[in-house]
């Protein structure tokens, strides 16, 4: 941080979506003269008393050993490919200073005040501009500004889901959506993905099976472009079919599109929102990946009746989105260079993706496969099924490298056990290469060990380095 002042605290809001180096907890500073007030102790009897008061839905909101594991990925010496952080270091500090200064000089009182629940008209105008860059032309009145895209997921689920209602999402799905769905006690069904995104044939079967049981999903949640965590993109044909299906069955689609503008190659795909015209598609946008996650600006575009309920939910949740952040957005977009900054990010991330793919090719054993994303922040690698990536993470951490174990992208916490999510936006190319080399090394060791134990492919001691793990292993196709 170049000796600059940095507020302390660990980023853990959506643990698996983002973890980053933090200060050591032990060094928290207390204001002079104000004694630290922390509860002296909780006894087990206290705990029982509170346990009796917890809502049933909190049982679905649980911590786990994996969470404790993830917490130590935040150590500064760890190359973390586990985070989901955009690289905010590239944002020009001088223009940030100028923008904030202008706000302080010209609109101090207003910027420090409450704002309308649905957000300022000026903010919405900027967000409409962002949607227009992907070929959408929403009515600004169809938008509500939210505190990040995460709140949008929460508000939509709160608005639509009663306990036990079916909700459909991709398998794997955005790990940060899992606790949200669980906290509203949704009955979550996951549909497999392949290189072309969600398997629409499986989706149709699932909807039919639910219908036979007299049930209808409340919504289908999808990250169609450069998906988190798999990095795959829904093909145009499937997009059209998905929108048709929603109409046929009168099911809502929640299109979560944080990464659409971070496209490195290929042609842009039409958004579900533009294909549908905004009848059955609720569109979620965010400025987190194209400007800053710290300002917490996201939005929903939805038909007016749905929007009205979401607005009431928002009012109950936090009254309004940060006014100061919205003033900043207005200033920033007013300079008219936001697309240039996105283009800069695309160039940086494309190089990083290439570096990661290249390193995977060199260092990952041939029994592994991975996706080749055309944009976004992540790719998804899958290892032989006898390797559990949660255990592997413990070994990788001893080599000071981290990734997200695949289980976190599944609601049952069981599937995805041999997969991992790898982030390429938050580390430079040298770190990416070194990180992948280290992960490849620990995988090779585990594969060699397994083969020695099973005796099927006696190949002697494991390779010391990233070279051919050897043996009569059957190569699997790489994606």
């Amino acid at each position: 941080m170049n000796g600059r002042r940095k507020l302390r605290g660990r980023i853990s809001a959506t643990l698996f979506a983002m973890t980053e180096p933090s200060e050591q907890e032990g060094q928290r500073r207390q204001p002079e003269g104000a004694p630290r007030r922390r509860r002296a102790h909780t006894t087990s009897r206290d705990l029982e008393r509170y346990a009796g008061l917890f809502a049933k839905r909190t049982q679905a909101m649980r911590s786990s050993a994996m969470r404790d594991l993830m917490a130590i990925t935040a150590r500064p010496e760890v190359i973390s490919l586990a985070g989901g952080l955009p690289d905010t270091s590239t944002f020009p500090a001088e223009s940030f200073a100028a923008q904030m200064t202008r706000i302080a000089h010209e609109s101090s009182a207003e910027a420090l005040q409450y704002g309308p629940t649905e957000g300022f008209e000026e903010t919405k105008a900027c967000l409409v501009e962002v949607m227009a860059a992907e070929g959408m032309a929403p009515d600004p009145d169809d938008l509500i500004v939210t505190t990040g895209g995460q709140q949008a997921i929460d508000l939509i689920t709160k608005t639509l889901v009663d306990p036990g209602d079916p909700v459909i999402c991709e398998a794997p799905t955005y790990p940060g959506a899992v606790p949200t769905f669980c906290s509203y006690e949704a009955d979550v069904h996951q549909v497999n993905t392949d290189d072309d995104g969600m398997r629409i044939d499986e989706l149709e079967e699932l909807i039919a099976a639910l219908a036979r049981a007299g049930r209808r999903p409340k919504f289908i949640y999808s990250v169609p472009s450069f998906q988190n965590p798999a990095g795959v993109t829904l093909s145009e044909q499937r997009r059209r079919r998905l929108v048709e299906l929603a109409r046929e069955h009168e099911v809502l689609i929640v299109e979560d599109n944080p990464y659409g503008l971070l496209r490195f190659d290929g042609e842009p795909q039409p958004t579900l929102y533009s294909l549908d015209g905004g009848d059955y598609v609720l569109y979620l946008g965010t400025l987190s990946k194209i400007l800053s996650p710290g300002i917490r600006i996201g939005w929903v575009a939805a038909p007016p009746p749905v929007l009205e309920k979401i607005g009431l939910g928002k009012q109950a949740a936090d009254l309004c989105t940060s006014t100061l952040s919205q003033y900043f957005v207005r200033e920033y977009f007013g300079e008219g260079r936001w697309l240039d900054y996105v283009a800069d990010l695309v160039t940086i991330y494309r190089d990083r993706r290439d570096a990661m793919l290249d390193a995977l090719e060199r260092h990952f054993p041939e029994q592994s496969i991975w996706t080749r994303p055309g944009g976004g922040l992540f790719l998804w690698a899958t290892l032989p099924d006898y390797i559990d990536t949660t255990d592997l993470l413990a070994k990788a951490l001893r080599e000071n490298v981290a990734f997200v174990p695949g289980r976190s992208a599944y609601v049952d916490g069981l599937r995805g056990a041999s997969s991992m999510r790898l982030n390429f936006s938050a580390s430079d190319e040298d770190e990416l290469r070194e990180g992948i080399r280290r992960i490849g090394h620990v995988i090779s060791e585990q594969i060699a060990l397994y083969e020695t134990i099973t005796g099927e492919h006696r190949i002697g001691p494991p390779p010391d380095d990233e070279d051919d793990p050897g043996g009569e292993v059957v190569p699997m196709p790489r994606r």
Binding site: H41, L47, R62, A394, T452
Partner: protein, 316 residues
Amino acid sequence: MRVAVLKGGRSLEREVSLRSAARVEDALNALGHEAIGIDVGRDLVDRLREERPDVVFIALHGPGGEDGTVQELLEILDLPYTGPGVAACALCMDKIAAKHEMRTAGIPTPDWAAFNATAFRELGAADTLEEIEARLGFPLVVKPASQGSSLGVEFAASRQEVPQALVAAFSYDERVLLERYVKGRELAVSVLDGEALPIVEAIPRQEDFFNFEARYEIGRTDYVCPAELAAEETARVQEIATRTYETLGCSGFARVDLMLGADEPQVLEVNAIPGLTDTSLFPMAAEAAGIDFTQLVERILASARQRPASEATLPA
């Protein structure tokens, strides 16, 4: 009194340690001491020299803090500290060495076989798996030799599951053990200053029976303290626990985990520095004995200061 509370560190149990330490610091402050939290890192020795604490409270869990490493440093710096000494820590953290000690002392512990990765890679240990499986039977338990928590502990229900369980356990340690599975009640005996506290029984929900992770989550395991056991059973379990504590050379406090099967209680392991979080078993047991958390911390602290300096490996 100035009390340095060592916490965090690089172990996989870092989070648990931070939670333990937060409670300990509060209790120390409530007792009128000055608690100095130190997140253990490269600057540990410097920090200790700078802070000059009267005593060090070790709230570290897992390798590094619970295995004698930090204790050794404190001996060299001539600082009194809580919990067991170097030798006892090293023994408790190493499940294989601990089991050998217990066997020798006649303390019941389940049959086992231990390996390091080299045995498989270079000595053809895989060829002995069949004999081991025949001896231990199924299901069997595979665990890393030196993790304090449930991480890496796997059940193998059949031959086919053994290789995968071994690979998982080897992710946490270079040495692993295969152990006979004891079906029965899961008991934890907290020992404070050589005296057994009321027994805690962990009752996992049925569906999670073979899921170790579930046992450490609130709401997925029920804890009963004192465990519902006949008086003579309680006495027997407590006697075995205190004997284990003595055999491994523990001092101050420790937690002994056992399985109560059809016949005798079997000792699984000893935690040299048991968790002190608000969901941990040690404080639960203390509370059942009428010792609240602050008193517990006070007693652990007192035992640190009474420890003779004779354990030091270097002349003073």
